[in-house]
């Protein structure tokens, strides 16, 4: 494998200088298919049966899952000796303990919670306080919570319900918290309503529009991100949300959305989505707490199909706590998708259920992360069929 590249370096050096030879070798390595892709071979490309990935391929999968980077010496040595699979549990623990696992936290949180969209968020500065410091702190807050829950062996549900969060001076001010100075984020007791992801300003901002909140986007986020139960796309012709105001009496956002939900074609999905978003209405479009929406009182009650009602973010949290199995399963699936770099397929469902059953009713976040590496999907592969 290496020989062709070494020969290249030598030939180029002969035609030019030693440095140029080195550069050429490096260039080739950096554009080689082995560097740009994770190459996994199927010894019998025509056969559709699953087969275990090789030790080295497993090392690569593991390293990219937990470190977003290639295997280190020790992983490679274990793979060379054919002892990685046997010692997998130990290696997973080692990788998670390593500082490089911070990349996993950053990448996964950014993708799972859709916080990457924070980079493009542009709240209207005439209405909301907004600056780069706030944007950055928002992103870090959620990453730090995830990391704390992971490293402290806490239950995955603590992501929903933690009694603490992380703020710097800027974010503290945003949350109305006194006594926090300086740009470093540090752990504080969560202010009322803020414990857990639903109270994180970053989440609340990426689920809003530049000038106002969007209960629909927030409801969709809860369904997609937390429950892995995304609403189907709107029916043809259903794109627009008529925002006509009644000039005589200004309508609250909630009232405008109510009108729309009276149409049975739209109601089918909106009755599931909107109430979840209403529960978060006391957080404005940049996640700050508010008592009024442009002078109008806020109604943050939610009523779900089936009769269940709740009030405010605490009520929403309570409802979700009752669906803890769905939350854990959704998170496990997202971790799997992240770890494998592919979307879920039908065969995954049974494996995920088995994993959740084995872990019991209150799985640790770390257990879920590790559990992914034990799945057949992580340790085996099969030749994909050619496309249409």
């Amino acid at each position: 494998e290496v020989e062709a590249y070494a020969l290249l370096a030598r030939d180029v050096a002969a035609d030019g200088t030693f440095e140029q030879g080195l550069r050429a070798g490096l260039q080739a390595a950096l554009v080689s298919p082995h560097f740009l892709y994770k190459v996994e071979v199927d010894p019998d490309p025509a056969s559709p049966s699953p087969h275990p990935v090789t030790e080295h391929e497993l090392a690569v999968r593991l390293a990219y899952y937990l470190w977003s980077g290639p295997p280190d010496e020790r992983l490679r040595a274990l793979a060379d000796a054919g002892r990685l699979r046997a010692g997998l549990a130990g290696e997973v623990d080692r990788l998670l303990d390593d500082p490089r696992a911070a990349r996993f936290v950053e990448q996964f949180v950014g993708q799972w919670l859709q916080l990457r969209r924070l980079a493009d968020a542009s709240p209207d500065p005439d209405r909301f306080p907004w600056d780069e410091g706030l944007r950055e702190a928002m992103r870090l807050e959620s990453e730090l919570l995830f990391e704390a829950v992971l490293r402290e062996g806490r239950g995955a549900l603590d992501l929903l319900d933690a009694p603490f969060t992380f703020v710097d001076e800027r974010l503290a001010r945003h949350y109305g918290l006194d006594g926090v100075a300086g740009p470093r984020l540090r752990r504080v007791a969560a202010p009322p309503g803020r414990g857990g992801l639903l109270g994180h300003a970053g989440v609340l901002t990426v689920t809003s529009n530049p000038t106002r909140t969007s209960p629909v986007k927030r409801g969709k986020w809860v369904l997609e991100v937390l429950l892995d139960d995304p609403p189907p796309p709107p029916l043809p012709g259903m794109d627009s949300l008529d925002e006509a105001h009644d000039a005589a009496r200004p309508l609250t956002l909630r009232e405008r959305l109510e009108r729309h939900r009276q149409d049975p074609a739209c109601a089918r999905c909106h009755l599931r989505m909107d109430p979840l978003g209403f529960g978060l209405e006391r957080f404005d479009a940049v996640g700050a707490w508010r008592e009024q929406d442009e002078g109008l009182p806020i109604d943050d009650t939610g009523a779900l199909p089936g009769g269940l009602t709740f009030e405010g973010v605490d009520g929403l949290r309570g409802y979700l706590r009752g669906r803890s199995r769905d939350l854990a399963r959704a998170l496990a699936k997202k971790l799997m998708v992240y770890g494998l770099g592919r979307g879920p397929v039908a065969a995954d469902e049974g494996a995920l259920d088995a994993l959740l059953d084995a872990l019991g009713p209150d799985p640790g976040l770390a257990d879920l992360v590790v559990g992914v590496t034990r799945l057949d999907a992580f340790q085996k592969r099969r030749a994909a069929k050619g496309g249409r």
Partner: protein, 439 residues
Amino acid sequence: MSELTRRTFLRGAAGATLGLPLLESLLPAARASERPPLRLLFVFLPNGVHMPAWTPERVGGDFALPPTLEPLAPYRRQLTVLSGLTLDGARDHGDGPGDHARAGGAFLTGAHPRKTDGADIHNGVSVDQVLAQAIGPATPLPSLELGCDPSAQGGNCDSGYSCAYSSNIAWSSPTTPVAKEIDPRAVFERLFLDGEGLTPDQRARRDRQRASVLDVVLEDAKRVRGRLGQGDRRKLEEYMDAVRALEKRLGKPQRRRSEGPPVAPPTGAAGDYGEHIRRMYDIVRLAFQTDTTRVATFMTANAGSNRSYRFLGVPEGHHDLSHHGRDPERQAKLQRINRFQVEQLAYLLGQLAAVEEGRGTLLDHTLVVFGSAIRDGDAHDHHDLPVLLCGRGGGSVQGGRHLRFAQETPLCNLYLALLQRAGVRATSFGDSRGALEGL
């Protein structure tokens, strides 16, 4: 010809430029005697347009420029407003929502993109890439793809449509979108400062070295390919195609990049959207002028863009606004956005018109298609699209008129007409029913 290099022009503080008139002696020898070649640029606007302020009332040569098109007044004689063109591939045909991604995918292909957010994307070949394959070999770069928004090539961007559809308008094969560059500084450096300060000998050696590098990785890829399953094999073949394309480019005669009046290297437009767009237009102008390429595409924003135009007094997201529900206030704001984009287009036309070339200007030898694949963002319709044709294409387009075509005339008829003007022997493109006449 004199050995003037870019360094001669840019001597002095970093980024400082000297404005020098374009000297005939700097033009490639070929151009001084032949007719300048035809250049084509395709510009994409997302979310449709507020049509009442766009479509002129009268047809023919004697029409008044509506408010949105007013900034084009100085170039009126190089402007052809086209009404009535239709993009049937963008219609849903039972596929349901996801109109923005679908329309983005169809814009230059005329195809009906397959609705998927997975790996099995399927579109058509875009008109710019057909041109690139035909006239591209004459230039160092077969085509140039530019934009302002980052691309995503995977994932669900619009109700079940892949981000590949909303991030790209150029498609070199039905399954291969051509990624766009969004950093003006990076493109500038890559196109115009590459090989900076190297003697011809040094450059030749560097190209030999690059060719050797590509040989090695290509061989490696071939070895790997045999051991992959079919699905993966296709991915690797895309890689190999890209490597081969690079090899071909290396083989081309070295084009001197120091020609033409210098342009200040873009400062990497962070935050100022207008500046970002204008720097990209500068690059197009420079690329055309130096004959680095003759085909380019530019996405002013990705399909379905929800960009805020706060600097215009329009803080709401563009996409959200485009669902105006017939609210006059929202429509007025949309019109402001449209006009802003037309102002940037006017800037480009000014740039092209300022370059003397042959017996006219660069604008005389260029054709710019500027429009959207959606007509009205609220109705999400795809007939009577907002499309402008700017430039006179070397005399192949009359200009200075508003032409209205019969209902359901395919937009691809326009593309076919352009292909033919570029010398491509084609009798159809996309869903065309013949080349557009009367241009």
